[in-house]
């Protein structure tokens, strides 16, 4: 099968989301569709999947023009989509989820669950998905849930499978397994469309790479013709510095010292297990680890959002183990939280209000009773300019900003004052390439100004690029401390998985 999108144009009020976009994908190949957030990838896929109808242009299947009125039409035409957010019923089994909507029935319309199990097993075996048809979804890790979505698509006879940011939710090892699955799909003659903003992954898995920027296809290339720098430049429209440029660190005295810190979750499980480490002035310490190994809880404890069960946290010699978040803030601690939508911003408030969210109460902005919004406005305009937040009015709602610009608002708020310690958790998650470059440079600048910086990220590349020292967390413990210049990503990956590289004594 060959699928063609021809001159697709789709506009929303004030936005031309897709402007004469043409793409094609055939059986047995992987097309990576890459672009920054807001470049029009999702709109294009919704057009393909029958959710939106294009203003002009057409979809052709094997050369025949087709129109889709709904997702059902797209599915019938052999197009399957694996969404970023899974559409599964947590309390149902794998087999039950897979057959939802196309249930095999026996006499009197009763559900033939044995048949369903059989169907899952066949597909699972054929593509080496290794699925247990009777497992409940809620008990499965995200990577396996994604396979259930894949089986759903395959059972509906998809010939072209679209993956929307499939690796965003996966751990590094799950990503590798996912790529194996993609290969087996291609071997079986499926066409694959892989939507992503991760350059490495596109280069790794795709046969062809189409780059989308501001609603148009700015170029198509192949992994052999292009490298990361070239694709990044196509995405952003200017040369991008992918490597963080920084001088070697000049560490000074200890600013943050953590000793014997232990934190339990509400169920009484140990999530941070007897951790001790220090961060010195003028250095960036990175904490690497697969998501869910205690990093979130560690950061929340360091910033005062979670109580420590044992051990102590000191900031510049003062014990702050039980200090409130506000006191820590006033003592010169900045916190870039891991989830900007959930914690870092009140998206229904203005950009200006978000820029003062952690210091609205200071005498600069408030006399204790009323707010000086004029002052807030002026300071915000300055911050927006200095931190390159793209907006035409600081009184716009924060929800109107792209992910990258929202993150810059947080960075501006947290780093634009005299600091002793900056704690940044997932500082560039879901942020476009151009903004990543900028945020990284700001973090390095902060270090060079003499701040102690602690970076927590599940993106190993990011930790390696930024850190002067790396601590690896695994199951609540720090299992290794390594020098990023002298250690390979492979070795750190092994520590992250709980094992040790060869040649290292235990």
């Amino acid at each position: 099968m060959r699928l063609d999108l021809v001159d697709i144009t789709k506009s929303f009020p004030g936005v031309l989301a897709n402007d004469r976009v043409s793409l094609n994908v055939s059986s047995g190949e992987v097309l990576a569709l890459i672009g920054e957030n807001g470049a029009g990838k999702s709109t294009l896929m919704n057009v393909l999947y029958g959710m939106y109808r294009p203003d002009s242009g057409e979809i052709r299947i094997d050369g025949q023009p087709t129109t889709f009125q709904s997702a059902a039409d797209a599915i019938a035409a052999g197009i399957g989509m694996v969404h970023q957010h899974f559409m599964l019923v947590p309390v149902f089994s794998v087999a039950e989820n897979v057959v939802l909507g196309v249930e095999p029935t026996g006499a009197l319309g009763s559900l033939d669950i044995a048949k369903a199990r059989q169907m899952v097993k066949e597909v699972s075996d054929k593509y080496h998905l290794d699925l247990d048809p009777d497992a409940l979804i809620e008990n499965l890790p995200v990577g396996i849930q994604q396979r259930v979505e894949i089986v759903k698509v395959l059972l509906r006879d998809a010939k072209v499978v679209v993956f929307d940011e499939p690796t965003a939710v996966l751990t590094p090892s799950e990503i590798l397994e996912f790529f194996e699955i993609v290969k087996s799909l291609v071997d079986a003659g499926k066409g694959v469309v892989f939507i992503t903003h991760k350059l490495k992954e596109a280069l790794h898995i795709a046969d062809r790479i189409a780059v989308l920027r501001r609603g148009t296809v700015v170029g198509e290339t192949t992994p052999t013709q292009a490298d990361e720098n070239k694709i990044a430049e196509m995405m952003v429209g200017r040369p991008v510095q992918l490597v963080v440029s920084k001088n070697s660190a000049q560490p000074g005295e200890e600013v943050l010292s953590v000793s014997d810190l232990t934190v339990l979750d509400p169920d009484g499980r140990t999530v941070v297990d007897d951790i001790s480490f220090a961060v010195r002035r003028g250095e960036i310490v990175g904490i690497a680890g697969v998501q869910g190994n205690g990093q979130t809880e560690l950061v929340e404890t360091l910033t005062g959002l979670r109580a420590a069960n044992n051990g102590s946290v000191r900031l510049g010699g003062d014990d702050i183990t039980v200090a409130s978040p506000r006191l820590r803030h006033e003592m010169g601690m900045a916190h870039i939280p891991e989830d900007r939508q959930r914690q870092g911003l009140v998206v229904g408030m203005s950009i200006a209000q978000n820029l003062v969210l952690t210091r609205y109460h200071s005498p600069e902005f408030s006399n204790g009773v009323s707010m000086d919004w004029g002052k807030v406005h002026d300071v915000s305009e300055e911050l927006v300019k200095n931190y390159d937040v793209r907006t035409n009015d600081v009184d716009n709602l924060a929800s109107t900003l792209s992910g990258g610009n929202q993150q810059k608002v947080i960075v501006a708020r947290e780093l634009s004052r005299d600091l002793r310690l900056a704690v940044a958790s997932q500082p560039t998650r879901g942020v476009d390439v151009g903004s990543i470059e900028y945020i990284h440079s700001q973090i390095v600048k902060e270090r060079d100004a003499g701040t102690a910086v602690l970076i927590v990220s599940t993106e190993l590349d990011e930790v390696m690029a930024l850190s002067d020292r790396i601590l690896v967390m695994y199951r609540g413990k720090i299992v290794a401390e390594v020098d990023p210049k002298k250690t390979s990503a492979m070795d750190i990956g092994l520590y992250m998985a709980g094992s040790k590289p060869q040649g290292v004594a235990s």
Partner: protein
């Protein structure tokens, strides 16, 4: 997604929530008209379709005349709107803090009882007694509002459940109190309080220029307008208002930013309760002059609809309260002039709220274009 939705989406254009609100009111009136006609079984049965329509015309014109048709009608509308405004602000402020205050009725009863007590133990002068009595109402409502606030902060008990239950507690506590020597009118055996002193009664709003007879509305409306102004200032200018709204929209972010969630929960309920308490006090000093078990009526519940309709903004809440007040006085006139029961007003209000809660329905009916699909959500913050 259905095609009509897509078609609607592609014609998107900017439209304010004000237009939606107005259209919801018009839609409710249209449905109300259908109900009036259809429920006129007698005339319809006799085939007197024309007569049924003229009854409808009479009803709706009575609605207008009874609410704004004369000075007296206007005055009645003002008196009806006053408690709606104040209690509406109470619920709206709680909404902005992310709290659903269903307990305005109980807080009105608590505040009203406190006001009544100050009303009969003193005997003027008005300039002292009225503020004191209303202050007592504020404190009474605030204390009663503190209970669900503390329960939520300490134990996580949801305020929807606790405030509903506290309404019953207030209702029966006041029944008991009105039976005690302290409150009960000496010559009565039923639960009814002593009269407040004449000095404590709110003066006519235009009494000072001799319009007290023609326009007998009491000066509670001035308190109500002050409450609206204070609410505006609180939301737009105060530090605490900023904290309330940040907390209401994103409790996690508020905690991250160093705000104290538990304190905000308690203070939010205390302030909302205090305002509702004032509404209760105003009803005592402006309308009744004494307390009964049912003096708060359904105002506390109607206030939820008022806040929803007004999208919890100061002006929105005020105007929707005035609309509710006007429907109330117009409805009475309608009941007098036609066979239609005043309960139709309740139906109209329910329809308005339903249409507000379903903005897509209103947009589909009136084929209007809108950029933002408002969810009818009231927990939105700043300037919304």
């Amino acid at each position: 997604m259905p095609r009509w939705f897509d078609a609607l989406g592609s014609r998107l254009n900017r439209m304010s929530s004000l237009v939606i609100t107005l259209l919801a009111v018009v839609s409710a009136l249209v449905v109300g008209a259908v109900i009036i006609i259809l429920s006129d079984v007698e005339r319809l049965g006799n085939g007197e379709i024309g007569a049924a329509f003229s009854e409808l015309a009479t009803a709706y014109s009575a609605l207008v005349r009874g609410s704004v048709g004369s000075l007296r009608a206007l005055s009645e509308t003002v008196n009806n709107s006053t408690p709606f405004i104040i209690a509406g602000v109470s619920v709206a402020l709680a909404f902005k803090t992310g709290l659903f205050n269903i307990g305005a009725t109980g807080q009105m009863l608590a505040g009203g009882l406190a006001t009544t007590w100050v009303g009969f133990v003193m005997d003027g002068p008005a300039i002292v007694q009225i503020p004191l009595a209303l202050l007592a109402g504020l404190v009474g409502g605030a204390l009663f509002g503190a209970i669900p606030g503390v329960l939520k902060a300490r134990t996580g008990a949801h305020e929807v459940i606790t405030t509903i239950m506290l309404n019953y507690i207030a209702s029966f506590t006041i029944l008991w109190a009105l039976d005690t020597q302290l409150f009960q009118r000496p010559d009565r055996s039923d639960p009814i309080s002593k009269f407040v002193s004449d000095e404590a009664m709110l003066p006519k709003v235009f009494g000072f220029i001799g319009l007290g007879e023609k326009f007998p509305a009491h000066s509670g409306i001035i308190v109500a307008l002050l409450v609206v102004a204070a609410y505006w200032w609180f939301l737009e200018r105060s530090k605490m208002g900023f904290e309330f709204q940040a907390f209401g929209q994103n409790a996690d972010a508020a905690e991250y930013a160093g705000m104290r969630a538990k304190r905000l929960t308690v203070v939010g309920m205390v302030v909302a309760g205090g305002i509702a308490g004032v509404a209760g006090g105003i009803e005592i000093l402006g309308r009744y002059g004494y307390a009964t078990q049912t003096f708060a009526g359904t105002i506390g519940f109607d206030a939820i609809a008022v806040a929803l309709l007004g999208r919890s903004t100061p002006l929105g809440t005020m105007f929707s309260a005035i609309l509710f007040g006007a429907l109330q006085s117009g409805g009475r006139e309608m009941q007098v002039e036609t066979d239609i029961n005043i309960d139709l007003i309740v139906v109209l209000r329910a329809l308005i709220v339903m249409f507000i809660a379903a903005p897509l329905l209103v947009k589909a009916i009136w084929r209007v274009k809108s950029a933002q699909v408002s969810t009818g959500q009231t927990f939105k913050g700043w300037g919304s």
